[in-house]
Symmetry: C2
DNA sequence: CAAAGAACTGAGTTATTGCTCAGAATAGGG
DNA sequence: CCCTATTCTGAGCAATAACTCAGTTCTTTG
């Protein structure tokens, strides 16, 4: 439990090429080890062993175990944000259904990347303030984008686009990850269609009178 | 990591009243300690200390740490299943909206119980086969009930009630827990209404032609 | 090619924690 | 009130894992 936040920064900046390679090897090994053993049982010695690097080298670049997971998460989220912005700025969104489908696909692809590592990072997040902050920031950006998107379509008839955006983003993320996971993963195409259908019908349903039903 | 499944059974059955009290104190203390420190940092010594019981006593009733969490989870799920069956068998379900609302409310109440402990149990589940099995069984029952419910309402126009049931159950569970959690929890009443609206519109939307939109 | 410093090594230190066990305290039946 | 069974105690054992550091190897540079 690091009290000093600088303790999460890498200890030394590599000056030689081999050092950069070592860093990269450690990171790759950590991703595999965490995904296979989980965070607690993914020991630093195991990571070093898998990276074919001595434990001492590992601690030259990462002051502690948390710092390794933090960097993995940072890289993952950064890549996600970049891809996200590219999609947003590149082509026009098309119909509402197309836009929703694009978002749903992105989550599905994200899951396929490395479900185990992903799960471990998100599980560990509540105990690591740094991770928590990073994820929260990412989510905020996600929701802001979704809200902005909803505002573009007149057929979206929800009362409050902020609440709707949060609901849509959470639903897509959580439910897709859940239903793609073991045991009994759902057929991906089916899942995609149902998810799009659900979000679409929610967003475009006529506003309901109080106490209707 | 217990290899022998009998290692998860309590070691001895209490014969005197004080023993039963000790057992209960340990369990209550464990719930608090796990909720506050998480599973890894919630050490058995801390639990014993909080229960004002010696560490030796703890190990007379629980063969290892996992067994404590397992019993907490078992009690929680059992209570959930019982309440669930009572709701199902007691009154008629009413309209579809009313039935959905009842389910959504149940999840909300469930969350309010003890969100931290709940999160920890579900996080730890993947690493504990026993826990995993218990949860899976509970979910299966949940889905089966939902599927049966959907079949009762002609206005439900989904293709496959099994898939729809899984979607509905997962969505309610995950999204509610997420949006009620820190940071920035949503207003509960609002959440309830939106969730019901989303599920209802999904279930009753007219079937969509292929490639529509 | 030699000196300086960057990078690497891995046995060992330190701290933590799950869990044991020998014995003390308490309860209940005769 | 004694004897046996039950319950409780807590110092300490054993295992594990994060992390250090003194010394070695490799790179670069003047």
């Amino acid at each position: 439990m690091p009290a000093d936040p600088t303790e999460l920064q890498p200890r030394k900046q590599p000056r030689q090429v081999r050092a950069e390679l070592t860093r990269q090897r450690i990171l790759t090994a950590a991703a595999h080890v965490f995904a296979e053993y989980g965070y607690a049982a993914g020991t630093t010695n195991r990571i070093a062993e898998r990276a074919r690097v001595s434990i001492g080298s590992l601690y030259q670049y990462y002051p502690n175990k948390d710092a390794i997971l933090l960097e993995l998460m940072t890289r993952h989220l950064t890549a996600g944000i970049v891809a996200h912005r590219q999609r947003r700025d590149a082509e026009p969104s098309g119909t509402l259904e197309q836009a929703l489908r694009a978002q749903v696909r992105a989550v599905i692809d994200n899951h396929r990347d490395d479900p185990n590592l992903l799960r471990i990072m998100f599980e560990h997040a509540p105990r690591s303030p740094e991770l928590f902050r990073k994820i929260a920031q990412f989510e905020r950006e996600h929701i802001a984008y979704a809200q902005q998107l909803l505002a573009e379509y007149p057929e979206v008839r929800v009362q409050d686009t902020y609440v709707a955006a949060r609901l849509v983003v959470s639903t897509a993320e959580l439910v897709i990850h859940k239903l793609m996971a073991e045991p009994d993963p759902l057929d991906v195409e089916r899942l995609e269609n149902e998810m799009v259908a659900m979000l679409l019908s929610y967003l475009t349903a006529p506003p309901r009178a109080e106490g209707e039903g």
